[in-house]
């Protein structure tokens, strides 16, 4: 079978599996977040922490829950890394330095999983499983909770109530993420991913060399890292490491995990606002952009522009033989467009233009399909911008899902879309202007600039993948990227929840002949156009300096 035919079958199988699963999973998530009943274990949790899961929260209270829970998470994870040498199962690793511990804490709480450390020689068993993996669950659950709060803002009227943060957090974790992770993790072990709490195994090879084989609870972490669109690898090589991603099946499963919740949430949204078609209009826009990028990157990697790739006869630098060019491209697009950032191949060595497409995927705000929760709420903000633009064209007050998009709503949406571009562009400019930026580059010229731009884009959009030649473990980058991750995660949430509150208070406006039909393909087209124009105008100059300059030169 030719590689191209295998790739076609693979993408077809992936889309088929997503189509099959999105329906039961989307409906299930809608039921989870709408149900009045609590599971016994949930009741026990609420009782033991003294939270009332039935108390409705208005947006400021909901936001306070999100922010304080996350702040406590940052502190907890920071302390855990600083004292890991004094805890059991430390593997002899030293405590993490303060700036790196802050960076890592910010990274995992903000669902970014940018890693300025190498897991195999830095993080103990306890830090990995009780620290990092826990945030993989709860940071994902926080994202889903905020998305659900925004959906409730659309679904409810004449109330400011958005639901209960504690109940959304706990339900998302216990009823959605944990069960799916267990299933995925067991399949990964069956493929060959390791799962143990042993010691580093020193062995002697047939040639008489010594080799140290890594231990770890890898499969359990791999499952949630992909399912929760987190992306932080157990090892430095991330999902390229054979212990994380042993064969073609585990590779496709991991891509499926990246995409399954983000592509199912629009169904949850449709169900909760009472019109499945509205959800399909959103998911179609996500799918079109994702698929376009898959085609572009796969084609570019097979065509392998670039002097070195051309000389080698293919773009296999930074890719694994058992995985290959096509599946690596599919993974790369899926991880950058979902805010995951795990990698099965190194994006730094992709062709210049492929790197540009991956950058663009993140710059779109990671909405196609985006991170768990963050993809849906980001896309709904874009939908608001799209109906606003359409309203301007015909001179009508815009409305979406029976809610007026007035001055307050559009201001909040505009603030949302300005945050990450500001962080990315200011961050990159400052780093380039200071000596720190230049010192951290592995590559020279346009590609070196791309490394810095990629780092700030990845951090501010909470992706976490890197052009990993970039030497980011310095106090300057640990601190500024850490701040970008926190601001890029939580400032947008402030505007999303404020918007949700404002929508929930409105009374619904009846649909008229002049209402823009947001469930039709025309609107999907408008949404894709808005997304590309807003991002294109913002980032085109920066892209021209980096990947475009490199791509056109080769």
């Amino acid at each position: 079978m030719s590689p191209v035919l295998a790739d076609v079958l693979q993408v077809t199988a992936l889309i088929g599996a997503l189509a099959l699963v999105h329906r039961p999973l989307g409906d299930y998530m809608a039921a989870v977040y709408s149900s009045k009943k609590h599971l016994r274990i949930e009741k026990w949790i609420y009782r033991s922490v003294g939270a009332n899961p039935d108390a409705e929260m208005r947006w400021p209270a909901y936001l306070r829950g999100v922010l304080i829970f996350s702040a406590v998470g940052v502190l907890f994870l920071y302390v855990l890394q600083r004292v890991q040498d004094k805890l059991p199962l430390s593997l002899g690793f030293k405590p993490i330095t303060p700036d790196q511990a802050f960076n890592t804490a910010a990274s995992f709480i903000s669902n970014t999983n940018w890693q300025s450390y190498s897991g195999e020689v830095a993080m103990s068993h306890v830090t990995q499983t009780a620290g990092l993996a826990v945030q993989n669950f709860v940071s994902a659950a926080v994202g889903m909770a905020v998305a659900v709060a925004l959906v409730r803002g659309f679904a409810r009227s004449r109330t400011g109530d958005l639901g209960n943060f504690w109940s959304d957090l706990v339900r998302g974790t216990i009823r959605v993420l944990v069960p799916l992770s267990v299933i995925a993790a067991v399949i990964l072990v069956a493929c060959g991913a390791i799962q143990n709490f042993g010691d580093i195994h020193h062995i002697t090879t047939l040639t008489g060399d010594k080799q140290a084989l890594s231990p770890g609870a890898v499969a359990s972490q791999e499952a949630i890292k992909d399912l929760g669109t987190n992306g932080g690898g157990y090892f430095n090589a991330n999902s390229a490491h054979p212990f994380e991603n042993p064969n073609g099946l585990s590779n496709l499963l991991e891509i499926f995990l990246l995409l399954v919740i983000p592509f199912s949430m629009p169904r949850t949204f449709g169900k909760m606002v009472g019109s499945l078609k509205q959800g399909y209009a959103i998911v179609a826009a996500m799918g079109i952009v994702w698929f376009g990028a898959v085609l572009a990157v796969t084609w570019l990697e097979y065509a392998h522009p670039g002097t070195a790739s051309h000389l080698a006869g293919g773009a296999m630098e930074g890719k694994e033989q058992r995985i290959g060019e096509g599946p690596s491209s599919l993974f790369a697009v899926s991880t950058t467009m979902t805010s995951t950032g795990s990698v099965n191949s190194f994006h730094d060595s992709f062709s210049g233009l492929s790197g540009g497409v991956l950058l663009l995927g993140m710059m779109l705000g990671e909405l196609t399909p985006g991170g768990v929760g963050s993809g849906l709420y980001g896309m709904l903000i874009m939908a608001i911008i799209a109906v606003f633009l359409a309203g301007l064209m015909v001179g009508r007050t815009p409305e979406y899902l029976g809610k007026k998009i007035g001055t307050r709503e559009i201001k909040l949406a505009a603030c949302y879309i300005l945050i990450t571009p500001a962080l990315v562009l200011i961050g990159t400019a400052v780093a380039i202007a200071l000596p720190d930026g230049k010192e951290a580059m592995t590559n020279i010229g346009a590609h070196g600039f791309s490394e810095v731009l990629y780092a700030y884009t990845s951090a501010s959009n909470n992706n976490g993948s890197a052009f990993a030649g970039f030497g980011a473990n310095t106090p300057f980058f640990n601190t500024t990227l850490g701040l970008c991750m926190l601001l890029g995660r939580f400032l947008p949430m402030v505007f999303v929840l404020a918007l949700a509150g404002s929508l929930a208070e409105q009374k619904p406006v009846p649909e008229t002949a002049g209402t823009l039909r947001t469930e039709k393909p025309l609107f999907t087209g408008l949404l894709v156009g808005t997304l590309l124009i807003v991002t294109g105008l913002t980032f085109f100059p920066a892209l021209a300096l980096g990947p475009l300059a490199e791509g056109l030169a080769s």
Partner: protein, 203 residues
């Protein structure tokens, strides 16, 4: 003011307790349950798919190894060679070169690798496949392409006193196709292949 400080502290306290409960669930119970299932059902895989020769562990079938002459950085002609590795197959330093597709250093590396592989195996440079001259992503790639195995057959046969047909047969037997026929790429596991070569020479 005091009121809001107090309520913030109350909220922080509740947050910490809920985080601790979720830590027990997701950070302790969850990995232990998966470990339990994995250790019982897939014991060898959960522990790293280790390979034994004469009762001693000589590696993991998932982790590539260096096949250099001991104590040197020269490839040993007796063995099938793996892909270039950024860290000489050290599992404590995984990752790749991170060099861009047009980077001058990478161009130099590829050129040198192409020359070396061609001379080492006595084939023209045009027959050297891409995976033989490019570094893997993990630095631990256990596999090579069937093409790369193919061009090494003659040399390995010669240096082990075996016939080309014998070694050819081993390569065929160790070629792993795509998972389920269409997932990933075909690869030959270098460690398993070299073990088979060694067994054949000791017969």
């Amino acid at each position: 003011m005091n009121n809001s400080v107090a309520s913030t502290l109350r909220l922080a306290w509740a947050s910490l307790r809920i985080l601790l409960v979720l830590t027990v669930l997701c950070g302790i119970i969850y990995p232990l349950v998966v470990t339990g299932i994995g250790q019982v059902l897939f014991h060898d895989k959960a522990n790293g798919s280790e390979v034994k020769v004469d009762g001693k562990v000589v590696g993991s079938e998932l982790i590539g190894q260096s096949w250099n002459i001991k104590g040197t950085d020269k490839p040993d002609p007796k063995w099938f060679q793996g892909r270039p590795s950024h860290s000489t197959y050290d599992p404590m330093a995984t990752g790749s070169s991170q060099l861009g597709a047009s980077d001058p250093t990478l161009v130099k590396n590829v050129k040198a690798a192409k020359k070396q592989v061609a001379e080492f195996n006595g084939v023209p440079q045009s027959e050297v496949p891409e995976d033989a001259v490019t570094g893997s992503a993990s630095a631990l790639d256990p596999g090579i392409s069937p093409d790369y195995a193919e061009i090494q057959v003659k040399r390995v046969a010669q240096h082990n006193g075996l016939s080309v047909a014998q070694v050819e047969k081993l390569v065929k037997a160790h070629a792993e196709g795509r998972t389920a026929g269409f997932l990933g790429e075909p690869a030959v596991n270098v460690l398993k292949l070299n073990i088979a070569v060694r067994e054949l020479t000791r017969k």
